[in-house]
């Protein structure tokens, strides 16, 4: 499974599925990470965690633990 955690910094991927439940899943989706949404991996925090991503035109920070629950796929281009 390709997850957001393993995606390369500087690449753009599409969200395929959120493998979380409850509050965490709702929060991730509330912030706009829904199926098919393109996500640009912007940078890694200086200490290696969390990750900064661009989604729906704004910046979001997400921990690697949580990012590992987001299944992604390569964009077609």
């Amino acid at each position: 499974m390709n997850t957001l955690k393993d995606a390369k910094i500087g690449s753009t991927v599409n969200v395929k599925k959120i493998h979380a439940t409850g509050a965490l899943k709702r929060r991730i989706m509330d912030m706009g990470l829904t199926r098919g949404t393109p996500v640009y991996l912007r940078k890694l925090a200086p200490l290696g965690d969390p990750i900064e991503i661009t989604v729906r035109g704004y910046e979001l920070s997400i921990r690697k633990d949580d990012a590992s629950l987001i299944e992604v796929e390569e964009t077609e281009d």
Partner: protein, 802 residues
């Protein structure tokens, strides 16, 4: 007729600025009942009949975060006449997500499309008419920052109040069909305009709504069937289905509404962020920003203002603009020296019983000590010097410049002029005015700090602080933003605790409040100097070890508390927006600074004043010769109390009444411990900051291990009353305040016990029983720290892997 407007919107969308501009100074800040979330209310500047309630900044109306629950409970139960939904035009998609949810409440909505000025700059065009048509709501373009469009917004909102709400955003035909089936099953008690909201919430299996709306088992199973059938078809859970549908609706509408400038340029914010969170520069920049905050709020401006209030306004007084102070202090120094010379000479006369003739040829010795207790200089005082010294006048401050006497001086003069009883003067001057001073003394420093914090929050850097520090702090159940309270806490715990306000998550905030005062603050430094000097020959390692113990206590407490039932449960998801950088309006900074500072005076002031006055009273009054009245501290009620409770501290190695009394007076202000020892061990009313005058006498009572245990206990136990007041203010709950203080005391007791019992072996007076107990305490702590966290797992393991 009164109109009630609710202001709703995402965090960082300009809501605060809009609220401030709409209400001006007609606002009132409190807390939502029972929680630490701020509640702001106000009235329109131009129409006092219109009340505006500023809801917490939220992304959604989910049942999972405190802010969101507060907002939706308010919207459902208090039924505002109209909602102003402020939408950040530069971040349209995510902002509209909240709009789709607000639209279901059956309340009329006016959208305020903010940041129109920035959109223009970016060459982005939003089709207002189309947006208004698609979402069936009036849309007003505004710039809260530049005060554009606010008149129209107010007019539209008040005109629209109480009208019929527009149609909610519609979903896919399949979902609409299921929702209407659920609507038909709803009990008759649900009002028609709330039917859609409840149908969606039931579809989402929203527990908070299920609790409130009591369905019959029959209805409930029918609804369940509908939901399960739908979930099977789409292969997702119902809650996510709805979220997906909302974003789908937005995505399909957005292309018709929003024409983005296709030429991609790096915005200024992007450029700033490239540098500020750069891999190599982020940490140095962070350190620099923290240094500047600390330097301004603690070292320089903060200290100046605090000293001014403590020594000037609540002290002897101050020179206007400082003019003349230098000359006055010079004269005061001369006068002090002269008085000491006189004293030395007269002492010699008294002890050696010299005749007047002998006196004329005698020479006394005046020993001058440095602050560190070292003999600096021996001044010979002969008869001529003695006579000269007597001619040195006590300087009168008013002769050196415009001198404004301090409040205590003014009150004292008044009390003396009306022949007030001495004990009552003491109570008013030292007890009450001293107490008020204790409250207000912190305020200027706090204002400075709050201004800086408001700036860091407003400009967007605070979110980056969390981004940069998260990795370290989350291990201990703290937020990356906990760094700031702890840093400020090294100066003073009171503003440190107040700085925890910037942490959004309530659990992280509480944890930070409880642990912040473990870090030695400025007032604890004299205690460290006293113990280091008296029993460790001023060893260099005592002070660093105090900081190490503080840091260790934060880490250990974080790990232990994280696993207790009070703090466990689902960890707060750290999915945080990093808002664009921008310069916050000065008005927002000032109003944030004022609100926080004022709320400290109001909410924390009472408890600080009462507690300070009470301990002052106990330490100055008591029974002497069968009469109750003002006495020396040795005879005071506090001494009696100290003796009574001193047995508690026997296992810590210092079960003496002096130690107990000093710990109690330390609650007024930690540096009082030194002064109290000065009185109790040397009978001196005035000792140096490190108390070197009583070092000798202390060595007779304390062993080094006991002294270190005493130091540790006083560093970690309940902080001073001012800090306890700040804890009360920030926890907004008596229960949590008591828990915090009790936890700190118990934790301090355990650490001190372990330190003393093991330390005693080094100095050759260890006891078997004590060591056994200390080992047991260590074992319990280790168990608490290393036991598996129960509720944490299911959340991650519950990932639905297929």
């Amino acid at each position: 007729m009164e109109i009630k407007i609710a202001l709703a919107g995402n965090p960082n969308c300009g809501k605060t600025t809009l609220f401030n501009n709409l209400t001006g100074s007609n606002q009132f800040v409190g807390n939502w009942p029972g929680v630490t979330v701020e509640k702001k209310e106000g009235r329109l500047k131009h129409n006092k009949d219109v009340k505006i309630i500023d809801l917490p900044g939220i992304y959604s109306l989910s049942p999972y975060t405190l802010e969101e629950v507060i907002a939706r409970d308010f919207l459902i139960e208090e039924k505002p006449d109209v909602i102003i939904n402020i939408i950040d035009g530069t971040n349209l998609e995510r902002n509209l997500y909240l709009t789709t949810q607000l639209k279901e409440l059956g309340i009329p909505i006016v959208a305020a499309l903010n940041m129109s000025d920035i959109l223009q700059k970016q060459n982005d065009v939003i089709n207002i008419d189309e947006l208004s048509r698609l979402y069936d709501m009036p849309v007003v373009e505004i710039s809260a920052l530049k005060n554009i469009g606010l008149d129209e917004l107010q007019k539209t909102a008040t005109a629209y109040a109480g009208k019929k709400a527009g149609k909610p955003v519609s979903f896919s035909p399949e979902l609409e069909e299921t929702l209407s089936k659920i609507e038909a099953l709803l009990p008759a008690t649900v009002p028609a305009d709330k039917k859609r909201w409840y149908a969606i919430k039931l579809f989402e299996r929203d527990e908070k709504v299920l609790e409130k709306i009591k369905l019959t088992p029959e209805t409930s199973s029918k609804i369940d069937e509908l939901i399960e059938a739908y979930e099977d078809r789409v292969d997702d859970d119902s809650e996510s289905i709805v979220t997906d549908e909302r974003y789908n609706a937005i995505t399909s509408s957005i292309n018709k509404v929003h024409k983005k400038d296709k030429t991609k340029k790096l915005s200024l914010s992007d450029k700033i962020d490239r540098v500020v969170t750069n891999r190599y520069l982020a940490l140095p920049i962070f350190a620099l920003v923290m240094f500047v905050v600390y330097f301004i709020s603690v070292t320089t401006v903060g200290t100046w203002t605090t000293d001014f209030v403590n020594d000037g306004v609540f002290g002897d007084g101050f020179f206007l603009f400082g003019a003349g102070r230098e000359h006055y202090e010079e004269a005061l120094g001369e006068y002090d020296l002269a008085s000491q010379e006189i004293e030395a000479f007269e002492e010699m006369q008294a002890s050696e019983n010299l005749t007047p003739d002998q006196l004329k040829s005698a020479t006394a010795q005046l020993d001058v000590y440095s602050d560190e207790g070292e003999l600096e200089e021996v001044i010979p005082v002969d008869y001529a010097t003695y006579l000269q010294a007597q001619d040195v006048p006590e300087p009168e401050p008013s002769q050196f410049g415009t001198f404004v006497p301090g409040i205590p001086v003014i009150v004292q003069n008044f009390l003396e002029s009306v022949d007030c009883a001495e004990w009552l003067q003491g109570l008013i001057l030292d007890g009450i005015i001293g107490g008020v001073g204790a409250v207000l003394g912190f305020v200027p420093q706090m204002f400075v700090l709050f201004f800086l914090l408001a700036f860091l929050e407003g400009c967007g850097y605070m979110a980056r602080v969390a981004f940069v520090m998260d990795r370290i702090f989350r291990k201990f159940g703290l937020s990356g933003k906990s760094f700031i309270p702890m840093l400020i806490g090294t100066g003073c715990g009171v503003p440190g605790i107040m700085a925890s306000r910037t942490i959004e998550n309530e659990r992280d905030r509480r944890m930070t409040i409880i642990t912040t005062t473990f870090i030695p603050c400025g007032a604890k430094l004299p205690i460290i100097a006293l113990i280091a000097g008296a029993l460790f020959g001023g060893a260099w390692w005592v002070a660093p070890s105090a900081y190490l113990i503080g840091a260790f206590s934060i880490v250990l407490s974080g790990i232990i508390l994280k696993k207790t039932s009070m703090f466990s449960g689902e960890p707060a998801p750290f999915v945080m927006e990093l808002p664009p950088y921008h310069l916050p309006p000065l008005k927002n900074l000032l109003s944030s600074m004022w609100e926080r500072g004022y709320s400290f005076i109001k909410k924390a002031g009472t408890i600080i004043l009462l507690a300070t006055t009470l301990v002052w009273f106990l330490s100055n009054f008591g029974f002497e010769d069968g009469r109750f009245g003002m006495v020396d501290m040795q005879q005071s009620m506090l001494a009696v109390l100290g003796s009574a409770i001193s047995f508690i501290f026997i296992p810590l190695g210092w079960g003496t009444w002096q130690g107990a009394v000093a710990t109690l007076t330390g609650l007024i202000a930690k540096e009082n411990v030194v002064g109290t020892f000065g009185v109790l061990f040397g009978g001196m009313s005035d000792v140096a900051e490190n108390g070197w005058q009583v070092w000798q006498n202390m060595q007779a009572v304390f062993t080094p291990a006991a002294a270190f245990s005493f130091l540790t206990f006083n560093l970690l136990c309940a902080p001073c009353f001012a800090a306890i007041g700040a804890i009360k203010r920030e926890m907004n709950s008596t229960k949590w305040t008591l828990f915090a203080v009790a936890y700190q005391c118990v934790f301090a007791y355990c650490v001190s016990l372990v330190i003393y019992q093991f330390g005693a072996w080094i100095y050759g007076d260890g006891s078997i029983l004590g060591t056994v107990i200390a080992v047991a305490v260590l074992a319990i702590a280790a168990y608490l720290a290393f036991r598996p966290a129960k509720q944490y797992k299911p959340m991650k393991a519950g990932a639905e892997l297929q």
